[in-house]
C-alpha cells in the first residue's frame, strides 16, 4: 500500500452499527453481551448508523459533513479520529489529528484554567514544551486574562467553551476535525473561531467540518457530503450539496399553506417578467391569491430567504385589502440573487401591531430556483459565501 501524504483522509465503504436495545439491558443480557464481545461474534439487535460511506480528502482539502441530527455525522468523525472503530470497511488517516469533537469534554472543573490548558493540550497530543511557548497566545485568544488562574468550575459556559476551543485552535494538527463546537459562544467569538479555522486551513491543514450552520459550512468548505439515514445522499462542491440538502429539508418542512392566520394563501406563483427563466438580475413577478374574511388596513411583506433561515431581503406594501378572495402582485426589480434555490415568505400584519391573531404569519410558502452565474468566492483557500448577486461594470486602466 502506498504511503499517503500527511493530512489525507480515506474512508472506504465504512459501516458502523450500534446496538439497539429495546430497554435498559438486564444483568443477564449484559453477561450474554459480554460473552459475545469476548468471542467477538455479536448476534444481538443492532442498527446501522453508517452504511457504505466512502469519501476521501486530500491534504489541505476542506470537507463539510451535513445532515439532520442522527444522520451519522459525528459517528463518522469519531471513526476518522479513531475514537471508535468501524464495524466494516477501511478508514485510513495519515498525520496528526486534532479533533474538536466537544471542546469542553477534556476540561476538568476542579483545576484552574492554566492547569487545564496543560492537561487538555497533552491529551490532544501537544507536548508540554509546545504548550509553554503557546500559552500566552492561547490565553489571549480565549480572552481569559486573569481568570486563567481560577478554577474552571467558576467559569461561565462561554469561558469554558472559549478555553476549550483556544487550546485546540493552537494544536497545529495535520487534520482538524470540527464538530458543531461553534454553536455555543457569542457571535463575536464564533467569528473569531471561523477566522482561526480559516488560518489553520490556509496553513495547509485538512479540515473536516460538521455543522448545522449552512452559512459557515459554505464559508469554510470547498466540498461537502450530505448524510441521511446512515447513507451518503450526495457529495460534491459545497454549494451544490448544500442546495440539495436544503431542497430536501424544505420538502420535509412541507411548504404548508398555513391555517394559523386570519388570511389564507390560496395560490402563489412567480414568473420572470419577460416570461423566460428566473435569472439573476431579471425582474420577478410574484402573484399571490389570498382570502380574507374581512377587509383590512395592513402591511404586506414579501421576503426571500436562502434555505429556511431568515430572509435576505424583504419588501413591504402598506394599504387596504378587501374581504373575500383578492390578488396581490409585486414586481421585484433586478433580482439580486445568485444561482441557487430560494424560499418566498409572504406575511401580513395589521397597522395596530401584534395584538390578536396575526393576519398572515411569517412563513415560507414556496421555493424557486434562480438560474444565472455562480457567486464568486475569494481567491483564497477559504470561500466566503456571497448569496447576493450584484451586477457590475468594470474598467481597468
Amino acid at each position: 500500500m502506498p504511503i499517503l501524504p500527511d493530512g489525507t483522509i480515506e474512508v472506504e465503504h465504512v459501516w458502523k452499527k450500534f446496538r439497539a436495545d429495546k430497554t435498559v439491558p438486564k444483568f443477564y443480557d449484559q453477561v450474554r453481551r459480554f460473552g459475545s464481545s469476548i468471542t467477538s461474534g455479536s448476534r444481538h439487535d443492532y442498527r446501522w448508523v453508517l452504511k457504505d460511506v466512502t469519501l476521501e480528502v486530500p491534504p489541505g482539502g476542506t470537507l463539510a459533513l451535513i445532515g439532520i441530527n442522527g444522520s451519522g455525522k459525528t459517528t463518522l468523525l469519531k471513526i476518522i479520529s479513531q475514537v471508535t472503530y468501524q464495524s466494516a470497511g477501511r478508514c485510513s488517516v495519515q498525520g496528526r489529528i486534532g479533533a474538536l469533537l466537544s471542546v469542553t469534554s477534556g476540561i476538568h472543573p476542579e483545576l484552574t484554567g492554566k492547569e487545564n490548558i496543560y492537561l487538555y493540550g497533552a491529551v490532544m497530543g501537544m507536548g508540554r514544551q509546545t504548550i509553554k511557548t503557546k500559552f500566552d497566545e492561547i490565553v489571549e485568544f480565549a480572552g481569559l486574562s486573569d481568570a486563567v488562574n481560577r478554577q474552571v468550575k467558576f467559569y461561565s459556559m462561554g469561558m469554558m467553551m472559549r478555553l476549550g476551543f483556544s487550546i485546540a485552535a493552537f494544536l497545529e494538527p495535520d487534520i482538524l476535525l470540527v464538530d458543531e463546537v461553534l454553536s455555543v459562544g457569542d457571535a463575536n467569538f464564533q467569528q473569531k473561531c471561523l477566522k482561526r479555522i480559516g488560518e489553520i486551513v490556509r496553513a495547509g491543514t485538512t479540515l473536516l467540518y460538521v455543522s448545522h450552520d449552512l452559512a459557515s459550512v459554505e464559508a469554510s468548505c470547498e466540498k461537502a457530503v450530505w448524510l441521511a439515514d446512515a447513507v451518503v445522499q450526495a457529495s460534491g462542491p459545497t454549494r451544490d450539496v448544500v442546495g440539495k440538502y436544503r431542497a430536501a429539508v424544505e420538502q420535509n418542512a412541507a411548504l404548508t399553506t398555513s391555517t394559523e392566520g386570519v388570511v389564507q394563501v390560496l395560490k402563489c406563483e412567480i414568473e420572470a417578467s419577460d416570461g423566460g427563466q428566473v435569472r439573476s438580475e431579471c425582474d420577478l413577478d410574484v402573484r399571490l391569491t389570498l382570502n380574507s374574511p374581512e377587509p383590512n388596513e395592513a402591511n404586506f411583506f414579501i421576503g426571500v430567504s436562502q434555505g429556511s433561515a431568515f430572509p435576505m431581503f424583504i419588501v413591504r406594501y402598506s394599504g387596504s385589502f378587501p374581504a373575500g378572495d383578492f390578488e396581490v402582485t409585486c414586481r421585484l426589480h433586478h433580482l439580486p440573487l445568485a444561482k441557487g434555490r430560494y424560499s418566498l415568505w409572504p406575511a401580513m400584519s395589521g397597522h395596530a401591531g401584534g395584538k390578536g391573531k396575526p393576519l398572515l404569519p411569517w412563513r415560507p410558502v414556496m421555493s424557486f430556483d434562480v438560474m444565472g452565474p455562480d457567486s464568486y468566492s475569494l481567491p483564497e483557500g477559504v470561500m466566503v459565501m456571497s448569496p447576493v448577486y450584484v451586477g457590475a461594470d468594470w474598467e481597468v486602466n
Partner: protein, 335 residues
C-alpha cells in the same frame, strides 16, 4: 466485490448523487472489521503517549486535594486509621505469632501493600467510567486511564511511607539491609495490580453491576490477604486424603505451577504446599510476606514464594491486557 463499487468519490468536482437503494442491508463479509491489536504496536503507542499518563495523573492528584484543606495529608490518614483500628482490635482479641516484632510495624507494612492494591482496584477499575467524557471524544491508548489512576495511587501510597518511617523511629528499629529487596516486591505488586485494573476496568464498563461488587471485594480481600495475620498461617503441607486410584494424584497437575506441589503420599493422598498455591493466585500474599521478612526481620527473600508470585502477577497482567485490548473496540460506544 459484489454490489458495492466505488461510485461515490466525494472529492470530485461535480455533484454525485447516491442511490441509497443500491446499498445492501449488510456489509459484505470481506469488509467486516476485525480489531487486532498487536502487542508490540500497542506498547509502542503506549510509550509514545506516556506524557498523557503523567498529565492525567497530575490532573487527578491535583483535583483530589484541591478542595480538601488537609490536602495531601488525607493519603496518610487512611492507612493510619486502619493501623489504629487493627492495633486496638487485634492486640486484645488474638495474638498472631509475629515473633518479637512490634505489631503496629508488622501490620502497617501489610496495610501499605494492601491499600495500594485496594485503591488501584477501586479507582483503576472505574478509570474508564470516570473518564467517559475523554474516552468518547479523544484518541489515545485507552490503557492510559487505568495506568494513570495507578500512578496516582502510587503517589498517595508514597505519602504513607512517612508514618512507616515514624513507626520505625518510635519502636527504635532500623530497616534491615535486606530492605534493598523491597523494590522487587513493589514491582510484583505493580504488575499484579496493573493486570487486575486493566481487566476490571474493561469489564466494568460493559457490566456496571460489577461496580457494586468492588467495595465488597475490597473489604473481603483485606481479610483474605495476610495483612493482619502472618503468611505463615497458611499451611505448607495441606493434606488431601486421596482415594485408592492413581487418578487422585492428577489433582495437583491441574493447578498451575504444579511443579511446586509436593506430593508426599503418592498412594494414599496428596499434600499440597498451600502457600505456593495461594501465592500464585494472590501474589499480594508473598509480596507482603516478603516485605516483612526482608525489611523487618532481615531475612533473604523466599525465592520459591517470590517466584510463584511473580509468575502469577505476570500471568494476571498478560490476561488483563489481553481482555482490555479485546474489549477496547466498544469502549467509546458504550461509555
Amino acid at each position: 466485490m459484489p454490489a458495492v463499487t466505488a461510485t461515490q468519490t466525494s472529492f470530485g468536482d461535480t455533484l454525485v448523487e447516491n442511490d441509497a437503494s443500491t446499498i445492501p442491508d449488510e456489509p459484505p463479509d470481506e469488509l467486516v472489521y476485525h480489531h487486532r491489536a498487536r502487542l508490540v504496536d500497542s506498547l509502542r503507542s503506549l510509550w509514545a503517549h506516556r506524557e498523557i499518563i503523567y498529565t492525567l495523573a497530575e490532573r487527578d492528584f491535583r483535583a483530589q486535594y484541591k478542595q480538601a484543606s488537609l490536602g495531601v495529608l488525607w493519603a496518610v490518614i487512611g492507612p493510619v486509621a486502619y493501623l489504629i483500628l487493627f492495633v486496638v482490635v487485634f492486640s486484645h482479641v488474638t495474638t498472631f505469632e509475629v515473633g518479637n516484632l512490634p505489631y503496629p510495624l508488622y501490620a502497617f507494612v501489610g496495610i501499605l501493600c494492601w491499600s495500594f492494591f485496594a485503591s488501584t482496584l477501586g479507582n483503576g477499575g472505574q478509570a474508564l467510567l470516570s473518564n467517559k467524557a475523554l474516552l468518547a471524544k479523544t484518541q489515545f491508548p485507552r490503557e492510559c486511564f487505568p495506568l494513570e489512576t495507578m500512578l496516582v495511587n502510587a503517589l498517595n501510597t508514597l505519602m504513607s511511607w512517612v508514618p512507616l518511617i515514624l513507626l520505625f523511629i518510635i519502636f527504635g528499629r532500623m530497616p534491615a539491609l535486606q530492605t534493598l529487596w523491597v523494590p522487587l516486591f513493589i514491582l510484583i505488586e505493580l504488575v499484579f495490580a496493573a493486570g487486575v485494573a486493566l481487566a476490571v476496568s474493561s469489564v466494568i464498563i460493559q457490566m456496571r453491576d460489577l461496580m457494586q461488587i468492588l467495595p465488597l471485594i475490597t473489604s473481603l480481600g483485606l481479610f483474605a490477604t495476610p495483612v493482619i495475620w502472618p503468611y505463615s498461617r497458611i499451611p505448607t503441607n495441606f493434606h488431601i486424603s486421596g482415594g485408592h486410584h492413581v487418578a487422585a494424584v492428577k489433582l495437583p497437575g491441574r493447578l498451575p505451577g504444579h511443579f511446586h506441589v509436593i506430593a508426599a503420599h503418592w498412594v494414599g493422598g496428596v499434600t499440597i504446599n498451600l502457600q505456593m498455591v495461594y501465592g500464585f493466585f494472590n501474589p499480594l500474599g508473598p509480596v507482603i510476606q516478603g516485605a516483612r521478612a526482608t525489611m523487618l526481620l532481615g531475612h533473604s527473600p523466599n525465592w520459591d514464594l517470590t517466584g510463584i508470585a511473580a509468575l502469577g502477577a505476570v500471568l494476571y497482567l498478560m490476561f488483563g491486557y489481553r481482555i482490555f485490548k479485546r474489549l477496547e473496540v466498544n469502549f467509546a460506544d458504550i461509555a
